[in-house]
Amino acid sequence: MNFLRIMVSDLKMIMRDPIMALLFFVPLMIGIIFKLLIHFLLPFALEFVDFSLPLEPYLLSMTLLMTPYMLGVVMGFMMLDDKDGNIIDLVLVTPYGRRGYLLNRILFISIFTFLYSWINYLILNLVDLNILSLLYISILLSVFAASIGLLFFRIASDKIIGLTYAKILNLVIIFVFADFIKAEWFLYVAVLFPTFWITKLITDPDVVANNIFSGIVVLVWFFILYINGIGYKKRGSYGNH
């Protein structure tokens, strides 16, 4: 109940700032923009290149992954602002605490990522997935969004480092297309990243190993970052709550 109240207050805060409100709705526009791009540009690209695999599942995966990326980065920069403004130190002396602060932020982006994943899946209408697979993918995407927010909170010491990590995170999306890269070593690197496994869940949703490993990789990322985030201690702060 407490979380709900704080989330509503956070939502009000975001809606009061037109910039933040716009950023929160951009992932919805992404689905529409990608739908148009795929409709008009894909036939053009196929004239030049004969892709060895059907592109639709990979394009769906990339578009769905844009939501956790965008919301995670937005929330990450919000938390960096809180860090720079010493708001986190103030939160420590409230009953809310560091854990409450982090959980609230995580839940916020996770819920929106979950909702947007379903909406964008329906807008794109590229691949038929059964409802259980879609539910599982949406949950993993939500956890991934939380991991991205936590990554910023934990390791970005200032805004520029945050931008640098945002750039690195953009690179991680390449693992969506790992099946197209012929270099074997690339596959060994790709299996360590959630973007690879979420794509596998779309290309081969019925393979049990894909379902197990995707869950393991996404959760391992999340827990490592969450435990680190809870333990985060800024110089001069009062320690853990």
Binding site: I19, F77, I168, K182
Partner: protein, 238 residues
């Protein structure tokens, strides 16, 4: 004498900017990004890679300044560095020139790395370096102007969107009218024509028009950026 002192100040500012950018991992990031692009290009059929390479060069390394300048200026503002410009010998134009050169340098390094290591035919490196330098400066100046009007980094990203649409979307016209010289009078199209032309050939007239358009645009933007920067960042209340 004044020019000499100005050059010394720019040189010192440039050195500290480059050291700062190195410590922040800009060089490492673009080394990594360049290798990933090389990996992708290596997987594409040659006829597609020939088209993809100039598009990659134009869309990422050439415009990196736009992405990073917002964070750099906001951090320096938070640290109080920018406000002190009013009382230090370093002038606003020298401060901005140093930022432009340091970011252009990373763009050029990344583009050269990708081009030299990728399996492309003959490249006009003169046109490539001129094109990337002018493009990088152009987008960095746009980034400076956006930053002066942004309160935080998320606001910077949102304000970047309409600029990107205005500047990048018209480039699609080149697909339909590749030989229409009038298009070169639009700065971002002039940039793309130069970069594309460096790999696929460009006529002297077209290169001259594109370079002239970009130099004039950069000079006008530089004047405007100085005014906005002083008004909003040094003396302003943002």
């Amino acid at each position: 004498m004044n020019d000499r002192q100005s050059l010394i100040r720019i040189r010192k500012a440039l050195f500290s900017d480059m050291v700062f950018q190195f410590k922040q991992g800009f060089y490492f990031i673009y080394l990594l990004i360049s290798f990933i692009y090389l990996l992708i290009l290596g997987q594409l059929p040659p006829e597609f890679a020939d088209i993809a390479l100039p598009i990659i060069v134009f869309s990422d390394p050439s415009v990196l300044g736009l992405f990073f300048i917002g964070g750099i200026l906001m951090l320096e503002k938070d640290q109080g560095i920018i406000q002190t410009l009013s009382v230090t010998p370093l002038k606003t134009n020298e401060y901005l020139i140093s930022k432009l050169i340091s970011l252009c340098f990373i763009s050029i390094l990344a583009v050269l790395l990708i081009t030299v290591l990728s399996d492309v035919g003959s490249v006009n490196y003169m046109v490539l370096i001129v094109g990337v330098t002018l493009t990088s400066a152009f987008f960095t100046l746009i980034g400076i102007m956006i930053t002066t009007k942004s309160r935080h980094l998320n606001a910077f990203f949102v304000k970047m969107i309409p600029w990107m649409i205005i500047l990048v979307l018209p480039c699609v016209l080149l697909v339909f009218f590749p030989n229409e010289w009038v298009l070169s009078t639009y700065p971002s199209i002039a940039s793309l024509k130069l970069v594309y032309g460096a790999y696929h050939g460009i006529s002297y007239t077209e290169a001259f028009v594109s370079v002239t358009v970009l130099i004039i645009s950069n000079l006008l933007l530089f004047k405007k950026a100085i005014i906005m920067f002083e008004k909003h960042m040094i003396y302003g209340g943002l």
